[in-house]
Assembly symmetry: C2
Homo-oligomer: 451 residues x 2
């Protein structure tokens, strides 16, 4: 919790302004169990494939599996609504969810699993599938004490195993700041691997074991947190940043037991140099995290090429070139390769003073969607994360009013931490996450700012 908000809660003026209490979010620490208590799993409408997968996960984790709400506080509620096709099914969901939501504990998890509206056979089933979107975004705004609600939309041809890594992420403390979101899971690209063996505890604790991950902008801030978190989960880190950031870069490499590469990603030969480095020194790469980004804010009326061009070059142009190179013949990207691009809430909602930044971050989204089918041909995926208000050195220097407003306008009533972005990237970076491709996942605590 921020010191400012803690102090604010004792200020009488703040009380008159209705300053909210700030819940403490449970976050993941190595050795913590995935599930902190009983989980209710149910299905409505007769589709129970994913409820079965969720039940198996709960039993594997050794916490009580409930089929209806009792008196206990619940860690999680998972409802498989993939078979819900009528307004009567939707009404049944309401009657199930009401009492269940009442029992959800601090940092609890509500997870709805629904069908793809675009695949619906009848207009009513399309309406019902889309209704879950409005329902989950509303209930996410009602939950308290750090509890979250998210919707997993699964394609009709996705096997139950396709959602495994997503269930693990969204039910666990790793997804602390992912709230009110809708994630689409398709039939996995390539030859999907079965979920990791449950009797190997390292598989749960170190889901990125043996994977080589390159992170740009890794010298500090969110990039450093990404490197730390991926390393914690077993990845070998190749930390990339500008030569001028050498000290922070070396620190990241040392901290993570990885290596450092000083590189200006906007240089004409940057993609070639990066990929040659990955091929020659590491024998390939499994996870590419395009995190490096800059801002040069100014109203459009006063915008100059000096502010526009570098933002587009760093945030978008460099990603475009590296991604093209990753798709070339002889690319070091290995099967089950994962590319994760850092977009931004500004790229979705727009932001005053940030036409350049928002254009670059929206551009990242366009690029990710365009490249998804091409990466799929290589049994790889490309996705984006879109952070909302994340506590960094940059936000620490904001005017206090702007900063506090940014922190408070979301359902969790606080800014996220760099680790929250990193955990989301780790989930998308898993070999088991091949069902996620071309997605944009917001890490924003369900910020009210949107499109």
């Amino acid at each position: 919790m921020s010191d400012f908000l803690a102090g604010l809660s004792r200020n009488p003026l703040a009380k008159r302004l209705g300053a909210p209490t700030v819940p403490e979010l449970r976050r993941h620490h190595p050795g913590d169990p995935l599930l902190a208590g009983p989980v209710l799993v149910a299905d409505v409408g007769g589709g129970a494939r994913f409820a079965k997968a969720a039940s198996a996960l709960v039993e594997e984790q050794g916490v009580p599996l409930l089929s209806e709400p009792g008196e206990q506080k619940l860690h999680g509620v998972v409802v498989d609504l993939t078979g819900a096709t009528t307004l009567a099914d939707l009404a049944a969901a309401q009657q199930l969810l009401g009492p269940a939501v009442k029992r959800l504990g601090p940092s609890g998890r509500l997870l709805l699993i629904g069908a793809e509206p675009a695949e619906a056979v009848t207009p009513e089933s399309a309406a019902v599938a889309q209704a879950l979107d409005g329902l989950v975004r509303s209930v996410a705004k009602e939950l308290r004490s750090g509890a979250t609600a998210n919707l997993v939309v699964v394609a009709g041809d996705a096997p139950p195993t396709a959602v495994d890594s997503t269930l693990r992420f969204l039910l666990s403390a790793r997804s602390a700041y992912v709230d009110g979101q809708v994630v689409h899971v398709a039939n996995p690209v390539g030859n999907p691997r079965e979920p990791a063996e449950v009797d190997d505890p390292r598989a749960e604790e170190r889901p990125l074991d043996g994977r080589i991950a390159v992170v740009t902008g890794a010298a500090r801030g969110i990039g450093a947190a990404i490197a730390d978190t991926l390393a914690r989960d077993g990845a070998s880190i190749v930390a990339v940043d500008l030569p001028a950031a050498g000290e922070g870069l070396a620190a990241t490499a040392n901290r993570t037991g990885g290596t450092a590469l000083q590189l200006d990603i906007t240089a004409a030969d940057a993609a070639d140099r990066l990929l040659a480095h990955l091929a020659d020194r590491h024998g390939g790469v499994d996870l590419v995290v395009h995190n490096a980004g800059i801002t040069r804010d100014k109203l459009l009326a006063n915008m100059t090429p000096e502010r526009w061009d570098p933002v587009l070059a760093v945030n978008l142009g460099a990603q475009l070139r590296i991604n093209e190179a990753l798709l070339d013949d002889g690319s070091p990207l290995r099967p089950e390769g994962r590319v994760v691009c850092v977009s931004s809430q500004s790229g979705i909602a727009g932001n005053r003073g940030q036409t350049n930044y928002a254009a670059s971050k929206a551009g990242v989204i366009g690029m990710v969607r365009a490249l998804a089918p091409r990466f799929a041909e290589r049994a790889a995926t490309i996705n984006a994360v879109a952070p909302g208000f994340i506590e960094t050195e940059m936000t620490a220097t904001m005017p206090v009013g702007t900063r506090e407003a940014g922190r408070r306008v979301n359902s969790l009533k606080q800014g996220g931490l760099p680790v929250d972005v990193a955990e989301t990237i780790g989930w998308l970076g898993r070999a088991e996450s091949g069902g996620l491709n071309g997605q944009v996942v917001r890490v924003c605590g369900q910020s009210i700012l949107g499109a």
Copy 2:
């Protein structure tokens, strides 16, 4: 402007709180010119088909057509970016837009026209097309004095005439409260008609002349404004509402010179009765506006079927049944038929206390998307409007804090008026709007609340 805000601006405490000044929005009145001053039209990247269409419209309207910003205040700026495929094109757009935006007058109009990101040939062109989304949403947040910015995304096979009704709407005062939005125009359904003859002033003033429009929930509020506005634009109104709303319903019918039909749209035979009435008494229908809607707010934890079921039945179930009937053989829906469904910002962003309402309004969106191809087979379209904070009797009874917050959290710093929703429906209801199908258009002043 609201009396409260006008008073607030003289309150010293309000100044300390940073209460914004509220711009007066230009709205359409019969006889007003479409364009209130010079319009700058340009293209970037070599695609100029839609710039030409815009130039022709400006010349038809007899206001100065500029190709670069001068010293004059501008009514509008239209930039055709359908040919923009590279970051260099995007930089060129920035250099054009900066000076142009500076000259935009009160209630001015910035309109970007872009290509479909999903149709892009290269990842870079997909990124550029999507970048316009972030750019326009950002600049919309920067504009002042009631000026708006919107993006029209056109399919590659859409002829220049396909955007005519959309240019007229978004450049005119009719779109006063549509801001920061992205509208997709495709090759029109059916046999698209050429834009109305320009030398017939009635065509401009009464674009719905000769069309029969049915409006549900027409006794009061937004429904009454829809009936009034469509009648002003030439439509014959069939006003529908509950028998209990008979007095308001009769008033709407009298005011608009239309007819009234007392009908509970949730009754089992409602669709049959409505369509038989339209066929027998009016010989068909051209425009169906599903406006009737109710709220029964309660947190999901305390939700009951008594609150859930009627909201879903009125807001979604009735629309589903009437739309199915409109698609049946022997339906009274005529060629160039238009169905417009009223969704809500809550159906996009979710809303605390409104799981039922948000589910119903999200459901409307799912239904519209699912039905669009089926209506297209009949040379008809179906679209949705999603109002944000609109000043009605309902909002007038809100607690003052909630109401003022709702009014202020958008780029125009005020609530919209029922007529703003009505004008948007009128545009979608035109015979010339066949390029718009399966769309959801927010009427929210670029509310910050989104998904």
